[in-house]
């Protein structure tokens, strides 16, 4: 059984919480006592139906306001797959939460209200999904029950969305007409929409092919932790522990260690359960090298003819996550794989309007939830890949040193 992580994006009233509630309910992942609590709260709030949306609103502030503020993680399993849902609020002021939820997602569901069709937020959500390079996109055209399960209504939204998607880099698109409230096309194909010949939502989630989504070409191993037991049993043991970020690593492989540039071979790949013949993402292993080199946390082990060029200049799309603005001249801390440094914000090339995709080159700063293209200069070289090649070695976070807060996230573009 494998694992699929997916993110859901939607705003108030488009039925996202109901959809998640429905998925959990119909896969029997909701416990009776949780359902009892929801029914109790529904009654107290004056609803005349069991408000499945309450299952996902965790914090008191959210229940008070009837909205989702933060990313909530939900879990369910079917006999085929285990699923982790990152339930993200869709309102523009929560862009940072959607970016957070999408960063680890294999698939994203964007909800569209069948009565309203594509609206500004549908475009924004889709753009963010493509910006974060979520490999699979599902557009769930919801509330089909409220448009009489009309094929024309669905087709018109489908055509409009498909036309819009060609302008973006949508790798794999599936559009499904559903009713989260009535349960149509959620688990089983709906009898009320015989004209729809595609899969139900759950069938798609269970079967979507995710094997080729990870980069298995470019070997990348950021050294996370040096294991040195210095015990009587292992007096001279020195292993480099970390999580494979790309490629397939095998014993005997010629490798280069960045930033030193020294080359050696993989002497062995070890785990507490014994040695392994190969390591691939996202395995956590310990590498032993044939030569005694000075390797430490923040170094990167790659193949000699396929390694990033260490660089202090970083071009990136940055999503800003703090109330204090980002502007040129500012200094921040950066964390990229296991390597930390400081960066100077050199230039802000443009701020992107996430609704119209217009590039505002006159912008002088990025505010909370803004996205823009930025050039940074780092204190030490980083080993960067383009984010579109590798989400692990192409992504970074920015930290404000006086407060230690995570204030931005970046996706590397245009590595020479």
């Amino acid at each position: 059984m494998d694992l699929l992580r997916f993110a859901t994006a939607g705003s108030v009233d488009d039925g996202k919480s109901t959809l998640i509630g429905r998925l959990l309910h119909d896969t029997k992942s909701i416990f009776e006592d949780q359902l009892d609590a929801v029914e109790r709260t529904s009654r107290e709030m004056g609803d005349d139906y069991t408000n499945l949306a309450l299952l996902t609103d965790g914090l008191r502030a959210e229940r008070g306001q009837g909205i989702t503020i933060d990313v909530a993680y939900r879990y369910f399993a079917t006999p085929r797959r285990k699923f982790i849902i990152a339930d993200t609020p869709g309102h523009i002021q929560y862009t940072r939460n959607m970016v957070t939820g999408a960063s680890t997602a294999d698939l994203a569901i964007v909800l569209i209200d069948a009565r309203k069709g594509m609206v500004e937020q549908s475009r924004r959500h889709t753009f963010l999904v493509t910006l974060l390079r979520v490999p699979h996109l599902v557009v769930a055209v919801n509330k089909m029950d409220l448009v009489g399960y009309s094929q024309e209504a669905f087709q018109s939204i489908r055509d409009e969305f498909t036309a819009f998607a060609t302008k973006l880099n949508v790798p794999d698109l599936t559009i499904i007409p559903i009713s989260a409230l009535a349960g149509d096309n959620i688990v089983d194909r709906s009898k009320r929409m015989p004209w729809y010949e595609g899969p139900s939502l759950l069938h798609h989630l269970e079967n979507v092919h995710v094997a080729s989504d990870r980069n298995l070409i470019d070997a990348r191993f950021p050294v996370q932790y040096v294991v040195r037991p210095q015990s009587t049993r292992y007096p001279d043991y020195r292993g480099y522990a970390g999580t494979v970020a790309g490629g397939i690593i095998k014993p005997g492989d010629e490798v280069v260690v960045l930033p030193s540039g020294f080359t050696t071979q993989i002497a062995g790949i070890e785990t507490a359960d014994g040695p392994v013949d190969e390591a691939f993402p996202p395995m956590s292993v310990t590498l032993r090298l044939a030569d005694d080199l000075d390797v430490s946390r923040g170094d990167m082990i790659c193949r000699p003819h396929n390694a990033p060029v260490p660089s202090q200049d970083i071009d990136a799309m940055v999503c800003w996550m703090s109330e204090a603005t980002l502007s040129p001249g500012q200094q921040l801390a950066i964390k990229h794989t296991t390597r930390s440094a400081r960066v100077l914000v050199k230039t802000l090339q443009y701020r992107l309007d996430v609704n119209t995709l217009h590039r505002d080159e006159s912008a002088t700063a990025l505010g909370l939830n803004d996205i823009g293209r930025v050039r940074l200069r780092s204190t030490t070289p980083l080993f960067l890949d383009e984010y579109r090649r590798n989400r692990t070695t192409g992504g970074f976070i920015l930290i404000d040193e006086p407060t230690n807060r995570t204030v931005g996230s970046g996706m590397v573009v245009g590595v020479e």
């Binding site: 694992l3 416990f31 609590a37 008191r60 502030a61 229940r63 285990k82 040195r228 996202p282």
Partner: protein, 303 residues
Amino acid sequence: MTGPPNYRLSQMKTLEAESVHIFREVLAELERPVLMFSGGKDSIVMLRLAEKAFWPSRIPFPVLHVDTGLNFAEVMEFRDRRVSELGVRLVVASVPEAIERGLVVEEAGGSRNRIQTPVLLEAVRQHRFTALFGGARRDEEKSRAKERVFSFRDEFGQWDPKNQRPELWSLYNGRIRAGESIRVFPLSNWTELDVWQYIGAEGLEVPDLYFARAREVFERDGMLYAANAMSVPPPGVEPFSARVRYRTMGDANLTAAVRSEADTVEKIVAEIAATRLSERGATRGDDRVSEAAMEDRKREGYF
């Protein structure tokens, strides 16, 4: 172990790899970490993952137990045995002793859930722990569903749900100032079923209370509680023998048993997969206080 065809990792191995990554990240970035070890199933899995993360080194940090004085004797015996097998140092923060010293005052109703927080925070200060590994899972409870893997706490140990650090990809921000700390939850993405499947796959030993046996119990508010020294039936309530097991290991006076025939790990996995009651809802009298009971305790510095 060889790579499966098409280089997909099973969900169990994916979760394990993610947890191991988290353990290593903390050791690389934070000083004086400690692992909360209660002898319960989640902390047993945590210890196994910590072993794997640093192998062939020993687990490079101590374990901490906040002892309410109301733990099941079997669990305490298990805790001590496991700690000595692994050769890790055990730090105990004692609630009864804190009551004696006047640090905390026993609450009406006998729950020591809330008063264990000041005892925990005192131990954190005394030992200057900066990172505390906890076994909490996001599937356990609503407010947990929104907590970060690296959960920042101020110098009072407080959690501010509206001011959490964004967590993207596998990049965790462990930066703190003096007096502040990070609660780290390597099992964030595990479910109760995952934990039991892992216990089965790894052949981990757990306290016998998890297995169904004939035990002396009595009924209170529709739940079955053990009849023992710490949990005495109210006058007029007769204890009886029933085949029960425990799904969680909280305080003996507040943790209910469930009727069960599951006397092996395999049977427990089957039972959990089919159960219609959540872990906490079925067994924890203390969570029934209010919808937001956990959220409130966490804000005060509870795990």
